[in-house]
Symmetry: C2
Subunit: 249 residues, 2 copies
């Protein structure tokens, strides 16, 4: 079984109740609150994790996209499930904090908000181990025809799937919009991003569950070390000759 900081995964999961119980300490001087973040400085990270149902989380993420968009949909679908199943320390995390990731971070088209939500959730749960999971989720996203998720009651009809080849919102959604022949502010595009949120939340939970079982093995290498530069893998999308030129350039 994979061990981390001297505790097995099973120890961590079983210790969830103890961590919550340990959050309040009565001292001679009165009531002292010791947050888990403070105690985590003493080595109690990662936080306890209990396996989640990937399909249930996916459904929640799909619905949540229509309330709070992509980044929140993925981060909150996972973290709110842990708030319900485990309680503290997860209930101390203000989930509304993570809405800002929509549209590639406040609409700037950088990293797809679903991937940012995955990074935030795995970072909060699994600390540095979460980086490896986030890395694998990004690699999976860029190489997979998405969306896969089919809602029971779709809010719009969509015809196409696409492979983004990139973690960037602008490229990922742009490639799909071109194929579907729709505008950004259209019901089909919203539906595509809601379904994509379900897909990324589901994939993240699958890897987190494997990690909880001690069976997770990172598969994607370090982008920066491999290429000696932080970079995506879709080099020719910008450095190639087949990208549409803007008028006058």
């Amino acid at each position: 079984m994979e061990r981390q900081e001297g505790l097995t995964r099973r120890d961590l999961i079983l210790s969830a109740g103890k961590v919550v119980a340990g959050a309040a300490i009565i001292t001679a001087g009165g009531l002292t609150l010791v947050s888990d973040a403070e105690s985590s400085k003493g080595g109690k990270r990662p936080w306890p994790y209990t396996k989640l149902d990937p399909d249930e989380v996916a459904k929640w993420a799909y619905e949540d996209w229509y309330r709070h968009f992509c980044c929140h949909a993925v981060a909150a679908s996972i973290l709110s499930a842990l708030q319900k199943k485990i309680g503290e320390p997860y209930t101390s995390i203000p989930l509304d904090a993570f809405q800002f990731g929509h549209g590639g971070v406040v609409g700037w088209g950088t990293i797809c908000g679903t991937l940012l939500g995955a990074g935030i959730a795995t970072g909060i749960i699994a600390s540095h181990q979460g980086e490896k999971i986030a890395n694998d989720v990004i690699a999976w996203y860029a190489s997979t025809q998405l969306p896969i998720f089919k809602p029971d009651k779709p809010k719009a009809h969509i015809k196409n799937v696409s492979r983004s080849d990139s973690p960037l919102c602008h490229i990922s959604v742009g490639r799909w919009m071109k194929k579907e022949n729709v505008k950004f502010f259209s019901p089909p595009r919203k539906e595509r991003c809601a379904r994509l949120s379900a897909d990324v939340a589901r994939q993240t939970v699958i890897l987190l569950n494997a990690w909880a079982d001690g069976k997770y093995k990172p598969t994607h290498g370090s982008q920066a070390k491999t290429h000696q530069m932080p970079t995506m893998n879709n080099c020719t999308d910008c450095h190639g000759s087949n990208i549409p030129k803007l008028p006058g350039t």
Copy 2:
């Protein structure tokens, strides 16, 4: 004075002590912990904020880059200062969760980790108001010759500043590396990113302080609404004719 959810900024700051005091409730049934995240669902967001010294935060961010890289440097320089000044609810946030943003999110070269750190910090502090601050910080970053920060004891010598024209790590650091004529894994590049972390942390605190004073007015519009698409403003970096082609493309 700007009002939000029926409270003035001053009310929010003054209420900090009350919120912390309210985190533990003794009931007839024993000790019940009510997290601020839970109570925040009842409308207590944004969290209390007290003005920080932008220059002190900048110095901390610079040093922290060499420990935990860009995203953590910005998020933790601000949030750890609030952990010290305010305590809960900030001490419940596990700051190590945010290291994953380094190198444009785990080395994928997407959003500069400093900007992601700013988005996370402002989201945690200011909820939806934080989005506007993050948006303005991104616009400022892309249009400013950076780095500006000069450490008292630099860890490496650098000669150049550059204007990224983009929130992307890959483009921002690549443009500077070309000007400085250094590789990514080199002491000058590390020094540049450490100083940039100080700059972004400082700018974020300046806007947060204005917000706390009720004097913050968002200046940058919505990228997605303006362009009908999530996008950066450096269109010709990819859709232009002056970008270096890769061999064979």
